[in-house]
Symmetry: C2
Subunit: 375 residues, 2 copies
C-alpha cells in the first residue's frame, strides 16, 4: 500500500506514495475534512481542481446522518457524494467525546446520546469497523479514546491499554467483516499514551506487534505544549515502521504541518483551513489575515498576491470583505477554496523540496513567515 | 438598443435582441437577482455556465453596502463582482418601502432608516440615478413608488402621478449625470396605475411621451389576482411601443413567465428560483418538489431526470436531501444552480418555440405540467 520514495538528509521528512483502489496519494498529504459527506461549501470538482487527493469523513456524523442504511443503498460514500478519489474515515471516537456531555465509557465501548436528537447509541470497536465498512472508506481507523490534556498518569495508562485492546478487536472485526463494495479497504492503528514517553513507546510498540496497514499518532493537538507534541512524534516515529504511512490526526496550523513533516509524518487532517475560512480567517504566504477588517474595504488586490487559486485569480479583498459583511454565502465559498488551495499547495511544495533536497532551508523560511502572525 | 426579431402569430409573444456594451441579450429573458453584488451562493462563472445573459442588482442594498464610494473606487459593480455581462439595477424604491417600517414619503422623495444600522437616508429621483450611475449598471430604472394592493383609487391616482413626475426628473438627472466608466447606460421608465385600467393607460401613455430606452410594467405581482395582472399587462403593452423592450418587474413563477411572454413581455426578474432553492423548493419539468421530504431519503435519481445542469448530472435527490437535513451549504448551492438553470432553460425554450411558431401549443403543455403542483 505504501512506497517510501525518498527521505530528507537532515530531517526525518519523507516522500511516499500511498496506493488505494480509488487512486494514488502523494505524501506528505493534507486531507480536507468532509464531516457530513461534503467538504463544507465545496463541490467534489472544486476539490479536484485544487488537487485534493484524499478527503476525510467523520464516522460519528455519517452514522447519525445520512445513516448506514442510506449509505449502503447508495453504494457507499464515494457514490453518495460523487467523490471518486480516496476517503479516510475516523473511528467516531473523537466526536463521541467532544460532542456529547454525558458519555458512558466502559471497557467494551462507549454509550452516548446523539447531539441531534438525544437518542441513545453505543459504539464498540466492532461497531465502528462495521460502520466504516458500510461507509466504504479506503482507509479505516481503529476505535480509540482520545485522552484529554492534561490527565493523570493512571488514567492515561488505563485508557492507552484499553485503546490497544480495542485496536486488537478492531483488527479482528476488520478481517471478519466482508468488504461491501468490492474494493479493498485498509486499517490503521492509532498510537496513544498521552504525553508520557514510556506510554507512547508502549502503545506504539504494541500496535506494531498487532500489525496495521498504517499508523496514526493520536491524542495530540489537544492542548499540550508544542514541544511535548514534537517529543511524542519523535518517540512514536522511532518505533513505527519506515515502510508504513504515518498520520498525525487533527493537526494543524501550517507551522504544525511543516514541523510534523520534518518529524516524519506523511498524512494530516484538520478542520482549520475550512473552519477558519468560514470565520473570515485567511491563510497567505505572508501570514494570516481577517478579511472582515475595515482596512480591506477598498483593497482591490487578491487575498494572496502569489496565489493561483480561483478566488485569487478572480476576486479582490474588498469584494470578499463585502460578501462577509453582507453575510453572503459566496464569501464562505471563496475563502474556503483559497484556504484549501493554500494547504494543499503547501504540502505539494514541501514534497518537491524534500525531493530536491532543499526541505530544511525552505521550511525555515516558511516558518519565519508564518511566525509573524500565527504565534 | 432593441431589435424586434419575430412575433408569435397567435399570441403577443416576441423574440428580440437587446444590445448593451457588456453584451447582447436574447429576449425573452429571465434576470437572476444579485441583490448585494452576488446571485446568492453562485459564482459569476456558474452564472455563465448556466447561460445567464444579464443579472439584476438592488440599488437600495448596494447603496448601503458596499456603498457608492467603494463601487466608484472599484470601477463599478461589473469589476467589483467580476461579472462582465450586462447588469440591470432597480431604483431602490421597492426595498425602501418593503424593508422599512417608518418611511416618510414626500413629493420630492422618500426618507427611510437603514435596515442594517437605523441610520437615516433620503432617496430622490436624482439621487437614485446618481447611485445607479455609480453602480455602473447597463440598464437604470427610474425611481418610483410600488403601490400596494389593494389601495384606494385616490391613493393610486396620486402615487401614479407622482411616479410619473419622478420619471421625468429621473430622465433629466440621467441626461445630466455623466457616465462614470466610459460605457453607455440606458434608462427604463416604469408604468404604474395599480389595477385601475384608466390609470394604467394614463401612466403608460405619459411615460411614452417622455420617452425611455425601455419600459417596465411595475406595481404588479403584489397580491392582485392573476387575471388583474394579465389585464394590466395587456393594457400596458397595447400602449408601449413595439420597438422597445418591456420588463415585468418581480415576476414570477414559471407559469407567470409563460403568461407574461404570451402577453408581450421581454424581460423578467424574480428572487423565486434562488430563494426557493435555499428553502429546498425545486423547480422541475414535472412540477415543484420539496427536497427535504422524507420520501427522497433513498431516491438516487437526479432532481429532474430531464435536466442537464451540473447538479442533476452529478448528484442525487437523496444526497441533496441529506445536505439540507445536515444544514450543509453545498445543498443551497446545488439547488440554486438547478433552479437558475431551470428558469433560464425555460426562457431559451420559449424563445425557440416562438421562432419555430410552436409557442402556443408548447405553452399550453407546460402550463398543464406546472399546474399540477404550483396552484
Amino acid at each position: 500500500m505504501f512506497e517510501l520514495i525518498t527521505k530528507c538528509n537532515e530531517t526525518n521528512a519523507r516522500v511516499g506514495l500511498l496506493t488505494t483502489e480509488h487512486g494514488k496519494i502523494e505524501t506528505p498529504i493534507f486531507m480536507p475534512v468532509g464531516t457530513q459527506g461534503t467538504v463544507k461549501t465545496m463541490t467534489p470538482d472544486e476539490l479536484l481542481e485544487n488537487k485534493a487527493q484524499i478527503i476525510l469523513g467523520n464516522t460519528y456524523h455519517l452514522y447519525l446522518r445520512p445513516t448506514q442504511e442510506i449509505l449502503l443503498k447508495a453504494g457507499g460514500l464515494h457514490k453518495f457524494m460523487n467523490w471518486q478519489k480516496p476517503i479516510l474515515t475516523d473511528s467516531g471516537g473523537y466526536q463521541v467525546f467532544s460532542l456529547n456531555a454525558n458519555v458512558k465509557l466502559e471497557d467494551d465501548g462507549v454509550t452516548f446520546k446523539s447531539h441531534i436528537d438525544g437518542s441513545s447509541h453505543k459504539f464498540t470497536p466492532a461497531k465502528s469497523i462495521q460502520i466504516q465498512k458500510d461507509i466504504g472508506s479506503d482507509i479505516i481507523m481503529v476505535f480509540d479514546e482520545c485522552i484529554p490534556y492534561p490527565a493523570e498518569f493512571d488514567y492515561i495508562k488505563h485508557s492507552t491499554e484499553r485503546s490497544l485492546e480495542w485496536a486488537k478487536q478492531c483488527k479482528i472485526a476488520f478481517e471478519n467483516e466482508p468488504e461491501r463494495y468490492g474494493f479493498k479497504q485498509f486499517l490503521f492503528g492509532i498510537s496513544q499514551g498521552g504525553t508520557i514517553p514510556e506510554l507512547r513507546k508502549f502503545s506504539s510498540k504494541k500496535l506494531v506487534e498487532v500489525g496495521f496497514d498504517g499508523y496514526a499518532i493520536g491524542g495530540l493537538a489537544v492542548g499540550e505544549p508544542k514541544d511535548k507534541m514534537h517529543e511524542m512524534l519523535e518517540i512514536s516515529n522511532e518505533i513505527l515502521p519506515q515502510n508504513k504511512p504515518r498520520y498525525l490526526m487533527g493537526v494543524g496550523t501550517p507551522t504544525d504541518l511543516l514541523e510534523g513533516i520534518s518529524l516524519g509524518v506523511d498524512m494530516f487532517d484538520c478542520v482549520m483551513p475550512t473552519r477558519n475560512a468560514r470565520n473570515a480567517s485567511i491563510f497567505t504566504g505572508i501570514g494570516k489575515l481577517n478579511i472582515r477588517n475595515a482596512k480591506f474595504k477598498d483593497d482591490f488586490t487578491p487575498l494572496d498576491e502569489d496565489c493561483e487559486c480561483y478566488t485569487c485569480k478572480n476576486f479582490t479583498r474588498a469584494y470578499i470583505r463585502h460578501l462577509f459583511i453582507a453575510k453572503e454565502i459566496l464569501g464562505l465559498r471563496l475563502t474556503t477554496l483559497h484556504n484549501i488551495h493554500f494547504y494543499l499547495k503547501l504540502m505539494r511544495t514541501a514534497r518537491e523540496k524534500i525531493i530536491e533536497g532543499n526541505f530544511p532551508l525552505w521550511k525555515k523560511e516558511m516558518l519565519n513567515k508564518f511566525r509573524k502572525i500565527e504565534t
